[in-house]
């Protein structure tokens, strides 16, 4: 199916057919006072040559730093075939076409994506994707409240080990809908959510508990214990998962006795480059019994009246073009193009390939931590197992160190002090399968020099105990 907009002749024919002089006339019923006229701050259009020049200039300003920064978006290897295939004309569209069933290939691709995601999360159904992981959490919170008929409360427990941006986004979206998001503290030693933190909610009406695995610090949560705690009290469990990590760790559908009820997460690690923050895509899966509460599009496989297999959008009666304000969501869409890339990425890697990527990430991160903590001014913040990132504490002011490392064309990690001031001079470091041993050695070397320069006589505090 070609994605070519109307030609001038098409537009003219359509206007003639309805007897309108021009496109502007179609908006006659909007009073002049309600029209914006021109958009202030939006410059005139540029031609291809001008825009290419501008974009190259901007891109060069970013340089090509060596990236040890994770915190929600990860620098993975993307096989060349992924975007070669994704950008073919047959796939190159951001959306599910409006006359969806005319594009059987697009629907088949989404159906295969959904199948892969249910396999990865260990749940029954997947939607066709959401904007991103952060809005996915907001949708999951609203979905859990709709779907939990045992709970009369609109209270959802949200550990502070969940990505701070996800928490902010969820709050922004649900705050005017009477939802109470209660933040739970983490263990300062382990960096995980303790079952003890849940004690004060014993006997109270809670609609859902959110658990991120691995959590924002990269630390592994006690997902079985937390999931069973929630289910025993009538609360649903929303798992926020890293898709790469799921190839190694038990997926949300297998947490505890009954598994998480909803899983969401950021799909970017699956074949989507970092792209200055987006667009990425969110994934969402759930148990069968919650499918009617799930927002977004779902592609189903069916047969036509001659018995031939085909694909169709299903359960559309929940959606906004039919249910209007009562729809499961009025602010979601799928990210068709990025889902296309993710589906091709997963097809190329396979289950075994994804597992090897996850293992390599974990291995390189362990090496990174070992190399950096050889410096006596650097130590791990937490003592629990992690996946592919973990916080390190510096005994010198961390901002200065990060600035100096930037000058060496290195992204050393994420500064945790802004969101977690109690952690002090902490840096969340990450290594994916792309970071070689030589990269890690380079980072350690630069770090040692910068720290030495800052402390002159070395570390200002006592050396570590052996």
């Amino acid at each position: 199916m070609p994605f070519i907009p109307h030609t001038e002749a098409d537009v003219k024919d359509m206007l003639t057919a309805i007897g309108a002089a021009g496109i502007e006339n179609l908006f006659d019923e909007i009073p002049a006072g309600l029209r914006i006229g021109n958009l202030h701050g939006v410059p005139d259009g540029l031609n291809e040559q001008e825009i290419s020049h501008l974009m190259l200039e901007r891109a060069e300003r970013d340089g090509r730093p060596l990236c040890f920064l994770g915190a929600g978006a990860y620098d993975h290897h993307v096989p060349a075939a992924v975007w070669e295939i994704t950008t073919r004309g047959e796939f190159y569209s951001a959306y599910t076409p409006y006359q969806a069933e005319a594009s059987q290939g697009t629907l088949q691709l989404i159906y295969e994506y959904q199948t892969m995601m249910t396999g990865l999360t260990g749940l029954d159904v997947s939607n066709a994707s959401l904007y991103d992981g952060a809005s996915g959490l907001a949708e999951a919170v609203l979905m859990a409240i709709r779907g939990n008929r045992k709970s009369k409360s609109h209270r959802v427990l949200l550990p502070t080990t969940v990505h701070p941006h996800y928490r902010k986004t969820a709050r922004t979206i649900v705050k005017n809908q009477g939802v109470e998001l209660v933040e739970l503290p983490y263990d300062p030693r382990g960096g995980n959510t303790l079952a003890a933190a849940l004690k004060s909610w014993e006997g109270q009406d809670v609609a859902a508990l959110v658990i991120q695995q691995p959590n924002f610090f990269g630390v592994l949560e006690e997902v079985d214990e937390l999931t069973d705690w929630a289910h025993a009290r009538g609360a649903l469990v929303i798992g926020v998962a890293n898709p790469t990590a799921m190839a190694l760790l038990r997926p949300p559908g297998q947490w505890g006795t009954d598994g998480a009820d909803i899983a969401i997460g950021e799909g970017q690690p699956l074949g989507v480059p970092l792209m200055a923050g987006g667009p990425y895509f969110g994934f969402m899966c759930c148990k069968q019994e919650l499918v009617r509460q799930m927002p977004g599009r779902i592609v189903g496989r069916t047969i036509d009246r001659d018995g031939r297999a085909g694909f169709t959008l299903t359960l559309q009666a929940r959606e906004q073009h039919i249910r209007r304000s009562k729809a499961t969501s009025n602010i979601c869409t799928n990210q068709g193009l990025l889902v296309t890339a993710a589906t091709i990425y997963l097809s190329l890697l396979g289950a075994e390939g994804l597992k090897r990527v996850a293992q390599a990430c974990h291995e390189q991160t362990r090496r990174l931590v070992a190399a950096l903590t050889e410096n006596e001014c650097v130590e791990p913040v937490f003592d629990r197992p992690y996946f592919h990132e973990t916080p390190l504490r510096l005994k010198v002011p961390v901002e200065g160190v990060v600035r100096a490392l930037h000058a060496h064309n290195l992204l050393p990690g994420y500064l945790l002090g802004k969101e977690y001031p109690e952690l002090g001079d902490a840096l969340l470091v990450c290594a994916t399968e792309l970071r070689t041993d030589a990269d890690i050695a380079l980072y350690a070397d630069h770090l040692n020099r910068v720290v030495a320069a800052q402390t002159r006589a070395g570390c200002p505090v006592q050396p570590k105990m052996a």
Partner: protein, 131 residues
């Protein structure tokens, strides 16, 4: 012409109400409503014990075409719901006034039924709506 039993009461939002001998009120959607909606695929019911207020949405009937709210015609407490619909929502199409009933309410004020239409008035209402 749709089937409109004269002994029932009807709301403008196309629910029917039957005042039972035990004082409870059984609620469903009219034959006309099921016909307009088409093949039912799912029915979401209130919970027994739930308190409902007249004209409040407390159930959803979902057909292949649309998902529509069902408004209770009387206030009170839901005493029973038609569990059979979870496996067989098509009963609403097949027998809207019988096996396709949705829920039963113990009304807090049975006089709310007087505000509803009788069969003849509902037939006229449908005829007017069709024009």
């Amino acid at each position: 012409m749709s089937n409109i039993p004269v002994e029932l009461k009807y709301a403008k939002s196309h629910e029917w109400a039957r005042h039972n001998d035990d004082g409870t009120v059984t609620v469903g959607i009219s034959d006309n409503a099921q016909d307009q909606l088409g093949d039912m695929v799912y029915v979401e019911l209130p919970e027994a014990g739930q308190t409902v207020t007249a004209a409040e949405a407390c159930a959803v009937v979902e057909s292949v075409k649309a998902a529509s709210d069902v408004y209770t015609p009387v206030s009170g407490e839901v005493v029973e719901v038609n569990e059979a619909l979870s496996d067989a929502p098509e009963k609403v199409n097949q027998d809207a006034y019988g096996d396709g009933w949705l829920f039963r309410v113990q009304p807090s004020d049975a006089s709310e039924l007087d505000a509803l239409m009788n069969g003849d008035a509902y037939a006229e209402f449908l005829a007017a709506e069709a024009h």
